[in-house]
Point group: C2
Chain length 484, copies 2
């Protein structure tokens, strides 16, 4: 354990958000830097958080009829180039393999920036009849995109862990249904487990996935007022099935090009969780996703160490038997105060303090990580109380984040006010938009804010308002914000 | 479904082993080729087999105190070069990234051939005191090594899925204990779940891992008489801790270099499973590792389809409730005969045939994949019978493989006989060896056979025999064989 860690988080979240974030990532033991800029190493605690996310999403994908597979990490340049927009979008950030051993390769190989092109060249071999459809695949892997901008662990890295879904359908409608199914599944999971509310909608044409017909997205609001794109689900139309020749013989005995979708979430979700829930003491992990839900810290001196540790082990076992994820920190080489500090930084939602006096009274002290609130609970009813507390913490985190999101959506129709507000505070700004890319680009150039999302809900409002930039009649309601 | 698949496996295992293997891989839906030579795509069935292997090994790693993490896929050349033997061993097969977008990189980056160098440059930051030890990490990822020789799905590919363990210990003995713990864990798991017996021992110095102090290995015997290395566990001594400066302050207040191990198994295990257990009809998957343990094929005509399917669903549910991995194949567009064929190719250990007559008699027909044996079983006792049958199949596969291994280990002390036998048949040949690399290399050059393993067991025999090549007194008993 290094000395930096021992002193805890040294800046506060409000004033030094970026530095606070980095300290939490490093000191909570989530990740560490690697020798190459923009690449990070996941430590066990960070990886177990990712394993939690995998296990929840993976079971939902399987329940809804998807299957897992593996695709190679290298894609020949000629394949990547087959869909023009897609290639042009990705090529500035592709890592290229040009040599194997001392031999120059005859064709450059791209490190997977995303797998549409490779997957679809393979799928085209698997599809010949309507009976082969749908194909609904998911891949847990890594993507590599050289980041030129400032990098940030989990949020913007040149390599990231993610899942990418790729599906093939007989009809446009079926593909659309898939796009919405997945977006809904993402939103529900992120809300229910990560306790993060998001806004669902479309990306503008300028911001959509390169090669897609349209992109749907979930937009979250971080504690510093910046937006974070947390998951995307794309309708690819026939934009890829045509160049990759994914064709099927229909029931009508004719050949048709298939319709496709792709979708993904990445370890960004971990970054969002840190930014949304953390506080000045460190991480706060929602109980449903926490690798450790309850930590037991026995408080003892030499003379009563055996008794206290024995009781702590008994409690550990009974809580484990109840299916809770519990850790007993009975290390001798650290003080209780040091341990309190460590588990606070690591964001374990509930702590049990257990001392000799508590044992006499058949009680423990419970400490909530989210509120700091302490209470004594009888050991006989401990399990039920803990389950109750964990539920309360989960709810409280979601409520807090929802309140923050709602309070930071501002309806605005005056461009000068928007400009001056964007300079002062973050948040989401909901305005009318004429749907022209010229206005979108000018707003971006002048304020630094993007159209983050065109929300599914509330579009009827656009009929009675004007574009915030050109004052022509609005066609859409759009949310503008600064973003990660 | 393509037409090639419909016709089943078209060659037999005995006469056309290599072609048989490829057909099984493709027709059982385990994997497919990718656009780049030497790279394969895992299809859902193949990936679920890998998921089974992951889930079993992962829980064993965790039970024995290991933790998971993630390491970047790119390693700077200078880091890879820090341990000389290691670098020289890997450099001919490294894929090099030299460009990001249009920009040439100032330093070449290696695609992870294995992670010793990267992991240890990171570990050195994590270790300062004896209290930081041991570190016992595991990484599930991919490794990339450009294969120049003929490639073969799962057995020899330029990219493979695997796990790599990396540990750091305070003492040499503790590291040795770790090496043996893992080798034992591998052997037990491979025997118990994959039903494959292996021989445990040391690699010769010539064959050990580049950079290791010594390598221990598990050697399996494939049905064509060739050896396959199925798992390795290396004692790295201080060979890496010195160049990477993994040092700790001991309880004695002095600085010490740490001791290390690394170990891994890959998707080769899937290749072994195919080669060892498969037959002329296709794959045979041991029940304990089978993604689908039981497949239900309802046999119906239009008039009784509803009744038969309903009963099949009822059985499906009751077997699922009992924790069995069951699949119901009630597709209308394929005949029963076609389905029988498909599930035989895919190696599902047990099939339930259910027709209208069976329902009348409250019975099903059970068909064993390993022996083809059929029996009628009453529905009331179905679950217990299935569990019994699956156990029998698991045992039978292991017994058959063990018998084959034992029958194909030949004790031999005459080199001319060895040479002529190696030309005619495969198998393991156990002989005395003087421990000189000269004899080892000559045998390799003249017969194509390696020292596959120096078995832990039976070394006392070496005291009373001579080296099969030079006739000097033997120092070791070694197993020679042709190998994958």
């Amino acid at each position: 354990m290094n000395s930096v860690k021992e002193v805890g988080i040294t800046v506060n979240k409000k004033d030094s958000f970026s530095e606070w974030y980095t300290q939490v990532v490093l000191k909570a033991g989530l990740a560490d830097y690697s020798p190459i800029k923009g690449f990070i190493v996941l430590r066990p605690y960070g990886f177990s958080l990712w394993e939690s996310i995998i296990s929840i999403l993976d079971s939902r994908f399987k329940e809804t009829g998807h299957q897992n597979g593996y695709l190679p990490g290298l894609i020949p340049e000629s394949l990547l180039a087959r869909e023009k927009d897609h290639f042009e979008g990705f090529t500035p950030e592709v890592f290229w393999v040009t040599k194997a051993g001392n031999k120059n390769l005859s064709e450059k190989l791209a490190l997977r920036p995303t797998s549409e092109t490779l997957a679809y060249s393979i799928f085209s071999k698997w599809v010949s009849s309507y009976r082969d459809l749908p194909i609904r695949m998911n891949y847990w892997n890594t993507a590599l995109r050289a980041e030129i901008k400032a990098t940030k662990p989990f949020i913007r890295t040149s390599e990231f862990l993610w899942q990418e879904g790729h599906t093939v359908h007989a009809t446009e409608q079926e593909a659309e249904k898939e796009v919405m199914l997945i977006l809904g599944l993402y939103q529900k999971t992120i809300k229910e487990f990560l306790a993060i509310p998001t806004i669902m909608g479309f990306k503008s044409n300028k911001e959509k996935f390169v090669g897609a017909k349209y992109t749907t997205s979930l937009e979250g609001l971080m504690a510093d007022g910046k937006a974070l794109q947390m998951g995307t689900s794309h309708h690819l139309g026939q934009n890829f099935s045509k160049p990759f020749e994914i064709k099927y013989l229909g029931k009508d005995s004719r050949e048709h090009f298939a319709w496709q979708t792709s979708w993904g979430v990445s370890w960004r979700l971990i970054g969002a969780l840190i930014m949304v829930h953390g506080d000045d003491k460190g991480l706060i992990i929602p109980p449903k996703i926490a690798p450790i839900q309850v930590v037991i810290v026995p408080i003892f001196k030499d003379k009563n160490a055996l008794i206290v540790k024995a009781k702590a082990k008994e409690i550990l076992q009974s809580l484990k038997n109840a299916g809770l994820r519990v850790h007993l920190d009975d290390r001798d080489e650290y003080t209780s105060g040091w341990k309190f500090n460590e588990w606070e930084i690591r964001g374990v939602p509930l702590r049990i303090n257990l001392g000799p006096k508590d044992i006499e009274k058949s009680q423990v002290e419970l400490v909530r990580r989210d509120t700091g609130e302490k209470s004594f609970v009888n050991i006989s009813g401990l399990k039920d109380n803990i389950i109750l507390f964990l539920d309360k913490i989960q709810d409280q985190l979601l409520n807090r984040a929802t309140k923050f999101l709602n309070e930071n959506i501002t309806r605005i129709s005056n461009y000068d006010i928007l400009k001056s507000m964007l300079g002062k505070k973050g948040g989401f700004f909901l305005s009318g938009w004429c749907e022209s890319q010229i206005c979108e680009t000018k707003i971006k150039d002048e304020t630094g804010a993007d159209i983050r999302i065109i929300p599914f809900d509330g579009q009827e409002e656009s009929e009675s308002t004007v574009c915030i930039y050109c004052r022509e009649p609005a066609k859409k309601m759009a949310i503008f914000a600064h973003a990660y």
